[in-house]
């Protein structure tokens, strides 16, 4: 057990346990805050994988943006004064069985596959290389994503105003 292993298990534990809370807790606000810890844990996993830029983007976009949007959604669609902030659930038993079978199948596939598993050295800082890729080979998808974001924001604004 090196320090890397310990930190990995810590982040994996945080991620999985809070993701479990996200999908089981009845109170929507509690689950939104559990999602915060899940996203933090995933950012930590990215950092452990040597993807420092992706980890920072995860923190800024997910934790700073998407999660706030979610909490806005929760707050705007529930009558907080009437204590109606719980979510109903249905089909727990079939869902548990189905997801259990499906997840077991996925785990069996992944454990029985002989993945290419190189022992990599410490990776360099990724920001420079990502910028090079974005501005050379991937410049067209990059620009298209900009357009998609613009259209999505305009669409969201016009849908919400109607």
């Amino acid at each position: 057990m090196t320090l890397y292993d310990i930190i990995f298990y810590l982040f994996a534990l945080v991620t999985i346990s809070s993701a479990y809370l996200v999908v089981t807790v009845r109170n929507i606000v509690y689950s939104a805050f559990s999602l915060l810890f899940t996203l933090f844990g995933i950012a930590g996993l990215y950092a452990l994988l040597g993807a420092d830029f992706v980890a920072i983007v995860q923190l800024i976009v997910y934790v700073g943006g998407i999660l706030i949007l979610m909490i806005f959604g929760v707050m705007l669609t529930n009558k907080i004064t009437n204590v109606q902030i719980k979510t109903g659930v249905f089909q727990i038993l079939p869902a548990t069985i189905g997801v259990g079978i499906f997840g077991g199948f996925l785990l069996a596939v992944l454990l029985n596959t002989n993945w290419l598993n190189l022992n990599v050295k410490d990776s360099p800082a990724t920001t420079f290389q990502l910028g090079q890729l974005l501005m050379n080979e991937w410049v067209l998808p990059f620009e298209l994503l900009g357009i998609v974001l613009l259209i999505a924001l305009l669409g969201a604004a016009s849908i919400a105003r109607k």
Binding site: T2, Y4, D5, F8, A12, T15, A19, Y20, V22, V23, I28, L35, T38, I42, L45, Y46, L48, L49, G50, A51, V54, V57, V61, Y62, I66, L69, M70, F72, G73, L76, T77, G88, V89, F90, Q91, A95, V99, G103, L106, L107, L110, L111, W115, L116, N117, L118, V120, S123, Q129, L130, L133, W138, L145, V148, L149, A152, L153, G155, A156, A160
Partner: protein
Amino acid sequence: MVTVSLYHYLFVSTILFSLGIFGIVTRKNAVMVLMGIELILNAANINFVAFARYGNFGFQGQLMALFVIVLAAAEAAIALAIVLNIYKVFSSVNVDEIDRLKE
């Protein structure tokens, strides 16, 4: 000696994916369904980044993860706008009560 390998990361992302599907299937509130979708997208992202590190594919996997994050942001914005409209019409966002497309 570091024992954490590709399998550990894939294991975490598989569990996240299954939990996301469980959330989508069992929750009634539409915002909670969206949270399940976010869990699934994050599971896919972990796979991209893990394969990018252990598979000797360069940095393109990380680039895909960035693209997924951007599209997830766009998706969340649109979906929440739709959810707000649904709330205006139905006065609730339970997905089992939404059974009309017309107002």
